[in-house]
């Protein structure tokens, strides 16, 4: 197909512009992320040496172990369940919060947004430790109960405590993208829906939720993934009693004697692949329609 020179010129300029936008970030990612990742991919097909050194002997054994041993399969399932739960709770708590912020007068919105983030500018571990102080057997809640003559309850080192810590740690990662999406939402559409006789709830479900879906999707992904890889919260609030995927990978790399980097790499590769497929699918499903 022949283009006239002007169109040709336009296309050329567009292409240059695209290259300018893409090149710096993409180059950075390929150099400092994709290439290092290839190392892990290679490791995952290697043999573990007797002292935990990687021996360059190609094998599929690591992947076979992962898919055949029930302890590993279970670790995947358990982690996915915990992450789903965390994501759902964050979404239920985060959406109304983001909505609340968007609905405030303009000059309040930025401070309110910052208020969400400020707690996260202290060290993560220290925050989790603060929860230990609150939940421990002789912690703030239980000593208050005790002072009131009420029976004390075991709060720390339970799966509930782990879940609490996860939600606490991930909430802003849900609220930020939700805020960005709701901020773009045209609220007159809700009025239009109301004028057409839709109930508030129906208007929300049919109009607002679909239009803010990109935010929901982004937030869910930002919460789901790190939760799947976490290892500190279950250690500090859950008493390290249950292994999640993150604990297992961390242990294979850094705690086992000898460590097993090839198996850890394979485990990470499978996890990433599954997540990647899930996420691409999820984003397609939730956002393609508004293009």
């Amino acid at each position: 197909m022949a283009l006239n020179p002007a169109q040709d010129e336009l296309q050329r300029r567009e292409r240059v512009r695209l290259a300018g936008l893409l090149a710096p970030g993409l180059l950075w990612l390929i150099l400092f992320f994709a290439l290092p990742l290839v190392v892990i991919l290679i490791y995952s097909f290697m043999t573990n040496g007797p002292r935990g050194n990687v021996v360059f002997q190609p094998t599929l054994a690591n992947y076979i172990t992962l898919f055949t041993k029930s302890i590993y399969v279970n670790a995947y399932l358990r982690s996915i369940w915990a992450s789903l739960l965390t994501t759902l709770i964050c979404l239920l708590l985060g959406y109304p919060l983001a909505l609340f912020i968007v609905r405030q007068p303009a000059r309040w919105r930025t401070p309110l947004l910052f208020l969400i983030l400020i707690p996260f500018w202290t060290n993560f571990l220290v925050r989790i430790y603060a929860w230990q102080i609150i939940l421990a057997n002789n912690g703030l809640i239980n000593s208050s109960l005790d002072a009131l003559g009420l029976p004390t309850i075991t709060l720390l080192n339970t799966e509930g405590a782990t879940l609490l810590g996860l939600v606490y740690g991930e909430l802003p990662f849900m609220v930020l993208p939700l805020y960005a999406a709701i901020d773009r939402f045209d609220f007159t559409l809700l009025e239009a829906a109301a004028d057409l006789g839709a109930s508030r709830w129906r208007a929300f479900l049919r109009v607002m939720l679909p239009m803010t879906m990109p935010g929901v999707a982004a937030g869910s992904v930002l919460v789901f993934i790190p939760t799947l890889g976490q290892f500190v919260v279950s250690e500090l609030l859950g008493g390290a009693k249950v292994d999640y995927l993150g604990n297992l990978i961390q242990r294979l790399f850094l705690r086992s004697n000898p460590p097993d980097w090839p198996l850890g790499s394979a485990m990470a590769m499978v996890m990433m692949l599954v997540l990647l497929v899930l996420i691409l699918f999820y984003f397609r499903a939730t956002t393609e329609d508004d293009r």
Partner: protein, 387 residues
């Protein structure tokens, strides 16, 4: 590179000399004179000739956290003008990962027993020039030449410890002398949620194996299965698997009994530096079924940029009064036998009471061996954590 070869040659020579000759070859001190240790004032002179022009301005020390008294580092700087910069790690595997990658920039690291063996096999440690380590003779010969470095070619014992049970005597006025206090579920139910086991895939199954009357290093599948069942039955009664802040939690009463390292127990009892003061009701025991002994060691890295200064620093740490001050601060046991008389009476009493190897407990202590056969423990631990 030339420097490395130079050191290597020296190290080899020394290793040969050590094989053939009596250990009394070094000047000044006679082997076996533990009781008539040189007085504190003299030891500075036994540091040997130090060529100050060869000292570097800085020394990079990669160590466990809270594992050296900062005052000692200041003293070293005052004496030699070398600033010791400490970075910290949390597990041997953290350290090994960084060192294996090469060019870490560190001079001295502190691997535990089995990690020394790994470093030796992978040729990561610099052979020591023992002619520079004039204070070597202060080390307890019983602790030298362990399985992981039989000639002490690359490693110098730094601090050691035991693993047993730490408990609060107010909760156990009768005392504790058996792993049953941790594994007999009928007993444990009385203090459920107030005990912890180490978060360690060798120590914790090891404790269960000891309770069953087996070796820590037993890899017979039937024995492992039994140990696994014990651990799974115990898990719901635990507060946590914890190898981090057991000291604090014992001292504050959050735990009444814990599977713990001797130093943790001593910190819980005596406090840690100026960070917290202790709880005198805490005590430590090696149960009658047995416990673990382990040792951390100083190793100069093969690619150390300041190997000469590193030797001077290690020799400084081997001075009895420095070793004593350090052990007092850290709470673990010094392998420096001439340092022991210099410790405070309080700490010496604890050593005698079983926080350190004694005639009473030495036969019940075992080293943990780690090689390809022991990867079975990784699986066991994964099953326990997955249940």
């Amino acid at each position: 590179m030339k420097k490395a070869i130079h050191w290597l040659a020296l190290g080899l020579l020394l290793a040969l000399a050590a094989c053939g000759g009596a250990p009394a070859a070094s000047p000044g001190n006679e082997y076996g004179g533990a009781t008539d240790a040189p007085a504190g004032g003299e030891t500075a002179a036994t540091d040997g000739e130090v060529d100050r022009s060869r000292l570097s301005g800085e020394l990079y020390f990669y160590n466990w956290s809270d594992y050296v008294d900062p005052a000692i580092l200041e003293q070293f700087q005052e004496e030699y003008g070398v600033e010791v910069i400490v970075d910290t790690y949390d597990s041997n595997e953290d350290m090994l990962a960084k060192v294996r990658a090469g060019n870490s920039g560190y001079d001295i690291v502190v691997p535990s027993d089995y990690a020394v063996q790994t470093m030796a096999i992978e040729d990561l440690g610099l052979p020591l020039d023992k002619s520079m380590l004039t204070n070597w003779t202060h080390l307890d010969p019983e602790l030298l030449g362990q399985y992981f470095d039989e000639e002490n070619a690359i490693s110098v014992p730094y601090l050691l410890g035991l693993t047993g049970i730490a408990y609060n005597t107010e909760a156990f006025p009768e005392g504790v002398d058996s792993w049953a206090a941790m594994f007999d579920t009928a007993q444990v139910a009385n203090y459920q949620g107030k005990l912890s086991m180490l978060e360690d895939e060798r120590e914790t199954p090891g404790a269960a194996l000891k309770y069953l009357g087996k070796s820590l290093n037993e890899t017979d599948p039937a024995a492992l299965e039994e140990a696994q069942a014990l651990l799974i039955a115990q898990k719901p009664l635990l507060a946590a698997y914890n190898s981090a802040d057991v000291n604090r939690k014992l001292a504050s009463g959050e735990y009444v009994i814990a599977h713990a390292w001797s130093g943790t127990a001593m910190q819980a009892r005596n406090g840690l530096g100026d960070e917290f003061s202790g709880n005198p009701a805490i005590t430590f025991v090696i149960p009658k079924e047995g416990g673990t002994i382990w040792m951390d060691n100083l190793v100069i890295l093969k690619d150390s940029p300041n190997a000469y200064t590193a030797h001077v620093f290690i020799n400084f740490l081997l001075r009895p009064e420095i070793a004593a001050q350090n052990a007092e601060y850290v709470g673990y046991i010094t392998p420096n036998q001439d340092a022991v008389p210099l410790l405070s009476q309080e700490v010496r009493d604890l050593y005698d009471a079983g926080y350190a190897p004694t005639d009473e407990n030495i036969d019940r202590l075992e080293w943990i061996v780690r090689d390809e056969s022991t990867s079975a423990f990784t699986d066991l631990w994964t099953v326990v954590k997955g249940d």
